[in-house]
């Protein structure tokens, strides 16, 4: 079974993010790292291929400046190869444009299953996987908290607010996985060294031959700071704090 995992390479969340004042988009220059939320998808894919007893995991990513540092992490975990689309014309691409690019790249691999995170840690639109599924003509299942492949069907426990739904669909399909799906393995030293020799196919938009091409039409018109959380109410204990807290909780109808 061949599985594609969509991997986003993002600015290191450990360092504060910056917005480009002219485009009002996130600055993506400098070192990028694999989005932590994609580690779950990579692990899930490796386990599914292991269980199937054959096939391989391919990582697919779109990033500026031919950046491969994040892909190397996934290759070190055990993925066999990667495809990277890097093209100056994609700067500032919105989710739909990115979906078109990734779908075109994925088609080259002809996978049985495509796995993505439910959303990225830097953009959070959460719309890309289903757009991609539509473009590929695949069914999709979102918010998987467990994934099993049974012959030509993928069975998923789909996380909901109330619990989970058991859903299934025929392969090939797109599945988005939550952080609860599996525990990602650590890239080992030998995995890191082996990853250096694994192929990363570098493509431009022209290589993909997308019908009608892609045009980045999204414009960010304004950026405003998130509203600061309102300061809480401090209850100073003058012997009656417990009563006032109970009163407060009753007002909120939580007790």
């Amino acid at each position: 079974m061949n599985v594609v995992v969509c991997v986003k390479q993002i600015p290191d969340p450990a360092s504060p993010g910056k917005l480009d004042p002219s485009t009002k988009t996130l600055v993506r220059e400098g070192k990028l790292v694999v989005d932590d939320s994609d580690m779950y998808g990579i692990e899930m894919a490796l386990q599914l291929v292991g269980t199937a007893g054959g096939g391989e995991v391919t990582l697919v990513s779109m990033a500026p400046n031919n950046e491969t540092a994040g892909l190397r992490t996934g290759l070190a975990m055990g993925a066999a190869k990667a495809i990277l689309v890097s093209d100056d014309s994609l700067k500032g691409a919105d989710a739909l444009t990115t979906a078109k690019v990734l779908a075109a790249a994925i088609k080259r691999v002809n996978p049985d299953l495509v796995i993505a995170a439910t959303e990225s840690t830097d953009g959070y639109t959460g719309t890309l996987p289903v757009q991609m599924a539509e473009l590929l003509g695949f069914p999709s299942i979102t918010f998987a908290k467990s994934v099993q492949v049974d012959g030509t069907t993928v069975k998923v426990d789909r996380q909901t607010e109330a619990g989970y739904d058991e859903v299934e669909c025929p392969l090939p399909a797109v599945v988005t996985v939550t952080a609860g799906v599996v525990e990602p393995r650590y890239p080992s030293f030998k995995g890191i060294m082996a990853a250096k020799g694994k192929p990363v196919e570098q493509l431009t938009v022209a290589d993909l031959g997308i019908d009608g091409g892609v045009a980045v039409t999204q414009e960010v018109t304004d950026v405003v700071a998130a509203e600061a959380r309102k300061a809480g109410e401090i209850v100073t204990d003058e012997g009656d704090a417990h009563e006032r807290i109970v009163q407060f909780l009753e007002q909120l109808k939580v007790i």
Binding site: V33, A69, R72, T73, A76, Y186, P187, S188, F189, K190, G191, I192, M193, A195, K196
Partner: protein, 388 residues
Amino acid sequence: MDFTPDPDHEAIRDAVRRLCGRFDDAYWRACDSEHRFPWDFYRAMADGGWVGIAIPEEYGGGGRGITEASIVLEEVAASGAAMNGCSAVHLSIFGMNPVVKHGSEQMRSAYLPRVAVGELHVAFGVTEPDAGTDTTAITTRAVLEGDHYVVTGRKVWTSKALDCDKVLLLVRTTPLEQCARRTDGMTLLLADLQRPEVDIQAIPKVGRNAVESCEVRYDGLPVAVADRVGEEGQGFRYLLDGLNPERILVAAEALGTGRAALRRAVQYAKDRVVFGRPIGQNQGVAFPLAEAHARLAAAELAIRQASWRYDNGLPCGEQANLAKWLAADAGWQAADQAVQTHGGYGYALEYDVERYWREARLMRIAPISQELVMSYVAEHVLGLPRSY
């Protein structure tokens, strides 16, 4: 001069950081206070191939140098694991160096693969109650009886002895008075540790309590001649080979510990508001932290120079000693300033900086005191008369 980051080193750093991220300060605080060896952490490090990183590839290791090993240990310390984390893996990463360099092929293939995968634990027994830096004064004696030695004596500060299967033991095979030179007559044995002839007692100590340091008595312990490292009488020379890399690794551990302390101090200085502003806005708080950063950055460069020289086969005694001195000093200063920045809370266990402080203090004493590094520099670098 080229300071371009090496992609392998970046990848090693990133991977070790990710792994250590799963063992938080609460984990290390608990291991320290319960005197519990961090087995989960050790297992994860071994499974990732980090424990065996410097063991040759033909024996199942990663085949990399002291530069890579020092990066691993720096990241372990900097994660907040500090010396509890480093000491848990340090011996497995580097302790077998004398066997790699001088052991027989039979010994190497019997033991190194098991150390590389984290299955065999080997302690290091050199220091004695009356022989510390003056190593040649050791009195632990090994007498040859047929196909084995019989070892009798007392060692102190044998770290991890309670949890190790084997110990690399420096013994006298020829009494000092019969030797032409003080450094003659010592032999390195790879001895069994969990035997009825061996008594191991943990030494209560100030910190780094996840890894016990022990007093170990050997009372007629048999060691097969096949378990002798290299030649009889050459043990001290074999040890000397490992001193420079040892100092570089310890320097990296001190650097990481300082980094962990500084990170916590900076965060606290940003978050803690007194008189209506974060305390880090006060230069009296900010400047010492900036200074700690400057000292750590300088120590890091000294470590990188020393490890590069060692890995390239160049003499590195001066560089390794200076790296150890600078990093131990910088790590201690950072940890002390982290406690100071936290005020009263710095003395509370739950803020962790006191733990870094206790462990950073150790680095100014072990494995060699700061003063003896100065003696080395005075004599061997500046050409001043020998003081001892």
